[in-house]
Assembly symmetry: C2
Homo-oligomer: 243 residues x 2
């Protein structure tokens, strides 16, 4: 991919600044990686094997890494099943065929994984500190999202403040920034950004209840938001569904 | 152990409130568990197998759990060695025979593990949310400590604020509290608190560089702070040393 604004994020020696990018294998985090890369950061992607039902997303994350030419990718094994309590990590059924109004307006859904983004960002913070990076990217989105509390900007801002008190980097004056380039974009706008860089969204998977060979259900909250995004953006949906 | 103030932390049905207590197997976290228990909380202890050199502390954590009659204890496997960068998780040498002035006054030491308490508290937060608990206890201490940024009260306060924005519990009005009962105590005062409950500190281990059979080095920062605590408190030191 062409880095049109590379110079913005090089240091005085012309070396790219490192950024840690949370990469799930879904549409949002892939677009976040694209935007971080297009802003001239050297990407260090971090994914999590957290006992998710949809572990095929880790294969998708690897496809995204390959497609974008990302040289550094770690997959952190953490077993959130030890706590249970979410449809994404236990045997609770994933809700299907809800309208977007039902998703957004109502309570926090059963697919919410307690403190997941807090845990993920904490590992990203550790990784950034080891790398000497002050930039962490996460693809949270406040518009077309599933109603999780840890996807809101006020959470991210509070995490950033905490991060600067938590770390050696923060104490020593390197301001740690949590970048949320998708926060105010619709799903259609997110897809449009990636399309501008000729990204193949068929590599990603957003489904909460995919088949073992990586096909999407087409009916969970995440599939519905994704379908809506392609439709509203005027793009054909490259996702493969099993029903 | 006798719960002298049990009624303070029961709900209307007289059931003990649950608290998540971070338990390392060291002196501070054991005392924290004692204080949480003496305040009438039902303790859910959480420890981490994080690739630490001093993994004998997990055996110490189990001894503390048994001694205090704690019924719930989970050990979360997370491999912080994936990032490297600390003397506690890699092959960097643990500093020895520094004076307490050298520890406190100077820069953050090599035994600092990047974002460790952020990661540990994030898991504790997930556990608390699953349990329906709003109370997390951590044995951080601002006086006789090793100079880690994530042991300071301002970090804890920022984490608490973030936690209340991160979680379903926080959003729905259950105020999550990070308790730091040791924050303003000297090591001698911490030990004195435990002694009041006839706790056996010989069960705990604080050493950063213990032998495989759990003996302490007597020369790392943590051993030196611990020895100072027993001495200033007027107690004999029950710790077994290998040199």
């Amino acid at each position: 991919m062409h880095n049109s604004v590379l110079k913005n994020n090089t240091n005085q020696s012309g070396i790219e600044k490192k950024a840690v990018v949370l990469l799930s294998g879904g549409l949002d985090s892939a677009t976040t990686a694209i935007l971080a890369k297009s802003n001239g950061f050297e990407i260090h992607a971090i994914s999590f094997a957290y006992g998710q039902r949809h572990s095929v997303e880790l294969e998708a994350a690897k496809r995204v890494v390959d497609f974008l030419g990302i040289k550094h990718h770690i997959v952190v094994p953490i077993d959130l099943r030890i706590f249970g309590g979410s449809a994404l990590t236990s045997n609770i059924e994933v809700p299907k065929d809800r309208t977007t109004d039902e998703m957004i307006a109502k309570e926090i859904p059963i697919t919410y994984v307690p403190a997941r983004n807090t845990i993920f960002l904490s590992f990203a913070l550790a990784y950034a500190e080891i790398l000497g990076s002050a930039d962490i990217f996460i693809g949270v989105n406040a518009l077309d999202y599933s109603g999780y509390p840890d996807c809101r900007l006020e959470f991210i801002n509070a995490f950033e403040k905490m991060a600067n008190l938590a770390t050696k980097a923060g104490v020593e004056g390197l301001h740690i920034k949590i970048h949320t380039p998708l926060i105010n974009l619709t799903k259609a706008e997110i897809i449009t950004r990636g399309m501008e860089f000729k990204f193949d969204y068929g590599l990603t998977i957003s489904c909460y209840d995919p088949s073992e060979n990586g096909l999407a259900c087409g009916h969970c909250d995440s599939c519905i938001l994704r379908q809506k995004g392609f439709k509203e953006g005027g793009f054909s949906d490259p996702t493969k569904y099993y029903n």
